[in-house]
């Protein structure tokens, strides 16, 4: 048994529930037909494609990590290729350590875009809304709330 990782891309002409159903079926197949065990699965949701594939500009992504008998991988690959509900898929050996969640993928992409825009117009840069949500005490308008919090701390 080896640890594999597959990223699936489902076409966007399917409804999201239908695509999720197809994903569940694949998971079931791994467990039932090939005696594999699934260690991690994540539904990425709808995402814009970097380029057009056929007529599709968007697609549903889903990530799966599982252990699988390597001698049956060719057979399984062929089976996935024949599925009409899967637009594309890529199987690689799973990297050591924790799998990269989708939130990290999005955050890194956004951080890069922000860095780029900050370089162009540094003067106009303001703290982003997400940062404010994460640490409300640091933002300026909520400074009035701080004394209340301090008072509570003193009472405790």
């Amino acid at each position: 048994m080896k640890n594999y990782e597959t990223l699936f891309l489902f076409p966007s002409d399917l409804a999201e529930t239908a695509a999720q159903k197809a994903f569940e079926e694949i998971k079931k197949q791994i467990a039932d037909n090939y005696t594999g065990t699934i260690s991690f699965s994540e539904w990425w949701g709808k995402r814009a494609l970097a380029y057009k594939i056929g007529s599709f500009t968007t697609g549903f992504y889903a990530l799966l990590q599982y252990s699988f008998p390597p001698e049956k991988m060719v057979e399984f690959d062929e089976e996935l290729r024949l599925l009409p509900k899967v637009l594309r898929f890529l199987t690689t050996l799973a990297p050591e350590g924790d799998p990269l969640p989708y939130s990290a993928v999005v955050a890194e992409d956004r951080a890069f875009a922000e860095e780029k825009s900050a370089g162009k117009r540094r003067a106009k840069k303001r703290p982003s809304r997400i940062e404010n949500l994460k640490s409300p005490s640091s933002s300026a308008p909520k400074a009035k709330m701080a004394p209340l919090g301090d008072a509570d701390a003193e009472n405790d």
């Binding site: 494609l49 970097a50 380029y51 990530l63 890529l90 990297p95 993928v105 992409d109």
Partner: protein
């Protein structure tokens, strides 16, 4: 007689960013990282001269970019 050293461009020894972080594997799903290091604005793979990454990591990164391209996470050309 001629003891003056040869005038040449000063060599800048860049350190590999992945080696200094201790990263072995480069994930193709890590799009921000690939955009930052590996590809230009037109989404071409940057040569090692510009990335300053050691050869093993450069090879891994270029395969990661190609995998990301196949899964439509990163464009082939812009």
């Amino acid at each position: 007689m001629n003891n003056t050293p040869k005038t040449s461009m000063a060599k800048v020894n860049k350190k590999c960013a992945f080696c200094s972080l201790g990263k072995k594997h480069i994930d193709y799903k890590n799009i921000g990282l690939l955009k930052q290091f590996g590809i230009t604005f037109f989404s071409k793979i940057k040569p090692r001269k510009y990335t300053g990454v050691c050869l093993p990591h450069q090879k891994r990164m270029s395969t990661a970019i190609k995998q990301a391209r196949f899964m439509a996470l990163v464009p082939f050309i812009k």
